[in-house]
């Protein structure tokens, strides 16, 4: 079914797709260049005082251009320069074995595993809530206020409570962090899925009624497929904040491993380069996760005959 659908003439030709990509490359390049330029300017301005003071303390007289270059090579700069961050990223990913505690990949894996577990739990909780809300009218009124108020509590306040409570009953490590992720990410899933499950128009629903379709048949053959485009929007948000949840979950525990632990250790010891490298690691991981969800969406929507945009 899918293969034939893919070969339809109405799909954009590869040449057209290439042209579209070409059109994007210019602006993207300009934006990246502007960000890098801004970053270097910030590095120079923010590190200037510290660098100049350090030279003064050492009793060394340096020219302005020497100070300028030195602002970008500080060991513990206020704001590390891009090339310092990337050198650190390279050192901690490529040059360090994955098994080492100094490897950023190791820490990223620790965070990723609880992110994925939390995301899985969040998807489960979020969809169960959505399906119940759509099918039981009273649940919408009774559950929705709680669901919404759950998201108004700052996660930084509730994260330590979850860790401590679960720790007191002997649950430590991966699971409490995953719970925090799930707590954050079920929300967009529930909201988007409720919207999606109720999206079929009256005619599409009447059709099912004329067939005397059961509730389950209406769910599987109409409501669920209709909800998928909505669900994927929620999933993309959910997977990104699931990662945030996992990182936040690592902060209050003084966890030994994970991107959150790396951030915390960096700030304890003033290792700004390490902090920035961990931040970039987290951002890259989040983009990767969102891209994966996007890929799944593309694959699924193609097999469901979605009109190419």
């Amino acid at each position: 079914m899918t293969t034939e659908a893919l070969s339809l003439p109405a799909r954009p030709s590869p040449r057209k797709a290439a042209r579209r990509k070409e059109g994007n490359a210019g602006p993207v390049f300009v934006v990246v260049l502007a960000i890098v330029a801004l970053w270097y300017t910030g590095t120079i301005l923010m590190n200037w005082q510290g660098t100049a003071d350090a030279f003064a303390r050492a009793g060394e007289a340096r020219s302005t251009s020497e100070i300028l270059l030195a602002t970008m090579e500080q060991e513990r700069p206020m704001l590390p320069a891009p090339h310092q961050v990337f050198a650190e990223l390279k050192k901690t990913t490529i040059d360090t074995p994955v098994t080492s505690r100094r490897s950023l990949l190791y820490h990223a894996w620790v965070t990723l595993s609880s992110t994925l577990l939390g995301f899985g739990l969040g998807v489960l909780l979020g969809s169960v809530l959505a399906v119940s809300i759509v099918h039981v009218k009273t649940l919408e009124r009774s559950l929705m206020p709680w669901i919404i108020s759950s998201q108004t509590i700052p996660i930084l306040a509730i994260a330590p409570i979850i860790i401590v409570v679960l720790g007191s009953i002997g649950i430590t490590g991966l699971f409490p962090k995953a719970i925090i992720s799930a707590y954050l990410c079920f929300f967009p899933i529930t909201i988007s899925m409720v919207k999606g499950l109720t999206s079929p128009d009256p005619m599409q629903r009447d059709l099912m009624r004329t067939y005397s379709a059961s509730l389950a048949q209406t769910f599987w053959k109409l409501r669920l497929p209709a909800s998928l485009p909505y669900l994927f929007t929620g999933l993309k948000i959910a997977v990104a904040i699931s990662l945030v949840g996992a990182i936040v979950g690592e902060l209050p525990t003084g966890a030994q491993a994970g991107l959150g632990a790396r951030l915390l250790a960096g700030s304890y010891y003033g290792q700004t380069i390490q902090i920035w490298a961990a931040l970039f690691g987290a951002a890259l991981l989040a983009s990767l996760l969102v891209a994966l969800v996007g890929l799944a969406e593309r694959f699924l929507s193609r097999s469901m005959g979605a009109r190419p945009a």
């Binding site: 079914m1 339809l8 005619m203 599409q204 009447d206 009624r209 048949q217 209709a226 005959g305």
Partner: protein, 294 residues
């Protein structure tokens, strides 16, 4: 579309009947007189509560439809023609009167899958191919895959959509989509077809073409068709019987027999005196029933 939920639809006492414009004077076709009518409606009324007071969607409607007839319902918007069709389909609940579909209540008929309903829009599910859309009711009825494929193949051939099985709805024109929805309704071979302004959204050329095809289909399959429209030529061209309705309250004001135009009709008959005579009577009926006080 009328509000359909039972919560919206408040049951109102049946005391409103007013001056009934309903004319039960229907003569069953001679050959079919002995059989029970496919649709038997007596004193049917339906009222629902709107923001500004009750709306009398249907008032004291009497109607008998025999097997094999092609009955058109025509009237201005708000005359209850769609509501009447939806009551027959058990998509709306009447407040009063009696209605039997194939000798049982509409809800029993629906559960028995006695009818196929064709909506104003094709209402194809966009994530299913045309073939899968046609097979949707068969899947729900639990018909095995091999037979599903065979039936969808046959029905798509019948509506001239052979070769479009693997396409998705958006790849077809509006007229083709509506033909696919007719194939879907035919797939489980119901004796009764309920069509709610199925060609209303299509341009006239496509509509003419589909009207001819529908008539051939009706002649071939010998189904009973109930067809809601607001086009006089369409109603006269298709029907063996035309039910003219009028709004506020929704009621039947005339029932016109057009069976003498024959079962096989070409578009050219629209120029004939017989055709024009019936069209004139429909127009007269519509004019008489139209209330000018608003």
């Amino acid at each position: 579309m009328k509000p359909k939920g039972e919560t919206v639809l408040k049951r109102v006492t049946e005391d409103f009947m007013g001056d009934s414009g309903a004319q039960p004077g229907l003569s069953a076709e001679p050959g079919l007189a002995s059989r029970a009518p496919v649709v038997d409606i007596q004193g049917l009324s339906l009222t629902y509560e709107a923001a500004d007071g009750p709306v009398y969607a249907l008032s004291n409607v009497d109607l008998q439809i025999e097997e094999g007839e092609f009955v058109s319902f025509i009237g201005p918007s708000g005359c209850g023609k769609t509501t009447l069709l939806r009551v027959i389909a058990d998509l709306e609940q009447p407040n009063g009167g009696h209605i039997h579909v194939n000798g049982v209540s509409p809800s029993e008929a629906r559960v028995r899958r006695d009818y196929g309903f064709i909506f104003q829009a094709p209402a194809l599910y966009p994530w299913r191919t045309i073939q899968k859309n046609v097979e949707l009711p068969l899947e729900i009825f639990g018909i095995p895959k091999a037979e599903r494929n065979e039936r969808s193949r046959r029905q798509l051939e019948l509506v001239n959509l052979k070769g479009f099985e693997k396409k998705f709805p958006w790849q077809l024109s509006g007229g083709m989509q509506q033909r696919a929805s007719i194939a879907r309704a035919l797939s489980f071979d119901p004796k009764l077809l309920l069509m709610d302004e199925p060609f209303g959204a299509l341009d006239e050329i496509v509509r003419d073409h589909l009207n001819e095809q529908l008539l051939k289909l009706w002649d071939k399959t010998r189904k009973t068709v109930l067809f809601v429209t607001h086009s006089i030529p369409e109603a006269v061209f298709l029907s063996s019987k035309i039910v003219v309705m009028s709004p506020r309250p929704g009621r039947i004001i005339d029932v016109i027999d057009a069976s003498h135009l024959g079962r096989e009709r070409k578009l050219e008959i629209r120029e004939t005196p017989e055709f024009l005579k019936i069209a004139h009577r429909v127009r007269e009926g519509l004019r008489a029933g139209h209330s000018y006080d608003d």
